[in-house]
Amino acid sequence: MTATTVAAPEASLGGARVGVVTFPGTLDDRDAARAVRLAGGQAVSLWHADADLQGVDAVVLPGGFSYGDYLRAGAISRFAPVMETLVDAARGGLPVLGICNGFQVLTEAHLLPGSMIKNDHLHFLCREQVLVVENADTAWTRDFTQGQRITIPLKNQDGQFVADDRTLDELEGEGRVVFRYDGWNPNGSRRDIAGITNAAGNVVGLMPHPEHAVEPGFGPASAAGPRAGTDGLGFFTSVLSTLVRA
């Protein structure tokens, strides 16, 4: 991880400001902001039409159907003013997490390789999904351990990750597959890939939704009981730890 733009060397996690972008058609921005707060960070709302990142230390591109998925999922959002600034900042090391539609935006913006197409079974699918953490060394997965199994919701129609074999081999060879679907592959994604990272490890995209598994009572089932799962919180505490270390 390259050092990021932490404004002041504050020791507490509460000093980190995490931006959450809202595009027209974004659905999960409020859940993402809530997840940031529950993890101990400060959530900052970013608007698609404003190129100013307001000095945030990290950015979440949340899920939804930005621009109604017109043209292709994420294709129009990719050219929003906020994205022009964000692409440069991400190339400079700013931690960026793309969830579901946010992942699609990241691939359209060429920050991550591959693309997402319709699920192989053609249906919208909503389920509690088990993932294997394949890379616990990214800005967003540090608080997990490699091989750990986590459960977070999956809900999408265009979730099938595709890329050519050369790209897939490259991703595997460089350890850039961050998450794989455990057991059943819910959408036909190549090599069971649920999430990937860029070479630097600061940009991560995945189809399932960590921001919906951050608070007991409102998450997936877990050993602690129904709706008790909070495995998603690890994404947000990871980036806060990353920022403190930087």
Binding site: R72, S115, L122, V162, G188
Partner: protein, 95 residues
């Protein structure tokens, strides 16, 4: 006023659910001879004045940059709508 037509198709190896649904519906209407359907997108880009080679070049760039995603789609045609209607094959069109 000129018009450029851009046509984009899903790559052959990419699942095309819309085409699959259509090919499933055709036999029910008695069209039993069609074994496969692929559905793509057609864009019509209008410009003031004629479709010049520069306009076609710009349309090709837009087709590659935003109208298609090369990971999953191919741009199969970029052409002047008017000339094409007359049956002329344009050098500006992509193979």
């Amino acid at each position: 006023m000129g018009r450029v037509v851009v046509e984009v198709m899903p790559k052959p190896e990419i699942l095309d659910p819309q085409g699959k649904a259509v090919v499933g519906a055709l036999p029910r209407l008695g069209f039993t001879q069609f074994t496969s359907v692929r559905q793509g997108k057609r864009f019509e880009l209008e410009v003031e004045g004629d479709v010049t080679p520069e306009v076609l070049a710009a349309a090709q760039e837009a087709a590659a940059k935003v109208l298609s995603n090369p990971v999953i789609e191919d741009v199969v045609r970029v052409a002047d709508a008017a000339t094409d209607a007359a049956g002329t094959v344009l050098s500006g069109g992509l193979a």
